[in-house]
Amino acid sequence: MAAATCITKDLRVPVLRNVELDRANFLLEFSAPSMIASMRPAQFFMIGIPGGETLLRRPYSVCGLPGTFEDGADGAAQVLYKVVGRGTALLAALKGGTALDVLGPLGNGFVAPASREVRPVLVAGGIGAAPFPALLAALGPAGPPRMFYGARGAADLPLSAWFERRTELTLTTEDGSAGRRGRVSEPLEEFLSASDPRSLHVYACGPEPMLRAVARLASRFAVRTDLALEAHMACGFGVCLGCVVPTRRAGSEFGYDRVCVEGPVMPAETLAW
């Protein structure tokens, strides 16, 4: 995962596959070899449907890059999404061969742990699992990372079988329909309290309440933690200022940073929630 200079492109590309994984979770695959050549996990695309009913594009984290999924097409990327509103419902209706407007790569992305002695700890909430396949592929074959993956119920844990084969995985659901009943932060807390924080690097992505809980644990256990944030945004490249979050980073503009440019990955301690 060497730092790469990414040239953002705005391309019209074909949908290769758009597969419903379970209840409302889909994996969309499209071909964009020149765009994704140096893309990093947790960077994102702004995806629009040409001539579609929606005006603005929507941000989607890169889920898979060439080599992430065994059945992925050459030069293709995948995004994982859940149908939650009009934009995602329109996306879910797309068939192979349809054209997509894709702008990317955008944002900063995850960086690998500083050394091989540091174990990655992945914390995902529901559709927040999206950036982790690409992260796992980028981390390579060192010992299996620890992963905590929680959601409301069993149907909200897309790709959990895929993660099961590649991580030491703990699943949680609030309704107890899969894994341990409760929130993902509970087993994470137990794990952190039994570990040397200097030997860990936490990567988290999920709904804001989960990220806040992870950030509190990061502070309490002094463990390096990067959060991949999600926000409503109109542009994705820094000009609409719609996606700001309050931060206390030195140099941030009046206490706000843009999720699209300064993020979507931000160190947990910089968030001023």
Binding site: T8, D10, L55, M233, F237, V239, C240, L241, V244
Partner: protein, 309 residues
């Protein structure tokens, strides 16, 4: 046929082509350098600049609505001094008009920003933002009260020799009244329109979607309203007009030219395609070629309403 002539002259402001990028949708310009040469468009208008930096409103700040979006950014900006010091120098390398959007909470603040920009090399014109719906002070009052508008325009007129554009608010009963007030205050050019005040409600939570309750509506949804207001302003004042409102492609821009605008600004569409303004320029060229019209300026205000003169 030789390539069509897109150059336009708006009073003291000459543009190589009539397509500008609108304030608040184009950052400070440099954000678009990865996507196209800024020299491909006639110019751009900066994010609104205030005397001191402004933090803006708390999120959520934006929401998509049918054929448009609501925003309540609240004029987050670096302030006029940081703009001149940090953003402007790099822009001088580009063959494009840099128009600085000016915001204040009082007459004195507008004058202060205008005076500082007047001294800065590389600013081609000023656009007074008298119509921001998202800040509690200034802004909207100036945009809706013709006496306040005329007064602040006159004060700014005295503070700068640069071409002075006044950006009109659509949130008025009769745009002709404020158009005349800005003209009386000494504006060189009018741009119209800024966003319409609107709101969206989250019915599940029974709360406003945006933290500040209301926001400014932009995008194709407002285009017919903006074209109508441009047409009305054309009847009311002799000043050159810049049409703004939901322009996505060349045909949208042409509506404004025919209704009497000499130039246009592309706004929300910049969020969807970073090179949206360039696409409009190319589309205008092909329209002129297709219709055998040598110069775009020949089209301005030529709408045939079918009513005998």
């Amino acid at each position: 046929m030789v390539s069509p002539d897109l150059a336009v002259t708006l009073g003291p402001l000459a543009l190589k082509n009539p397509v500008l990028a609108a304030s608040g949708t184009f950052g400070y310009g440099a954000e678009f350098l990865p996507y196209f040469d800024l020299g491909a468009i006639g110019g751009f208008v900066t994010k609104g600049l205030s005397p001191a930096p402004r933090r803006g409103n708390p999120p959520p700040r934006i929401v998509e609505t049918p054929a448009g979006m609501l925003n309540t950014i609240g004029l987050q900006n670096v302030g006029v001094e940081a703009f001149v010091r940090e953003k402007l120098p790099a822009l001088r390398a580009y063959d494009t008009a840099v128009i600085a959007n000016v915001f204040g909470e009082t007459d004195a603040e507008y004058v202060e920003v205008c005076a500082k920009l007047d001294q800065a090399a590389g600013v081609h014109a000023l656009e007074l933002n008298v119509s921001c719906p998202n800040v509690e002070e200034g802004g909207m009052i100036y945009g809706t009260d013709p006496r306040a508008l005329e007064r602040v325009t006159r004060a700014c007129r005295r503070a700068t020799r640069l071409p002075l554009i006044v950006k009109l608010s659509p949130n008025v009963t009769d745009i002709r009244v404020t158009a005349r007030a800005a003209a009386a205050g000494g504006a060189d050019i009018l741009s119209l329109v800024n966003t319409f005040v609107g709101m969206a409600v989250d019915v599940e939570r029974r709360r406003p979607v945006l933290t500040k309750v209301s926001g400014g509506l932009s995008g194709p949804a407002i285009r017919p309203l903006a074209v109508w207001m441009t047409w009305q302003a054309r009847q009311a004042v002799a000043l050159p007009l810049i049409g703004i409102g939901g322009i996505v492609e060349a045909a949208d821009a042409l509506e404004f030219f025919l209704a009497g605008a000499s130039a246009v600004q592309v706004g929300t569409a910049n969020f969807v395609h970073p090179d949206a303004a360039v696409r409009v320029v190319r589309g205008l060229e092909s329209y002129l070629v297709r219709h055998g019209i040598p110069a775009l300026r020949d089209l301005v205000g030529t709408l045939d309403t079918g009513v005998p003169a």
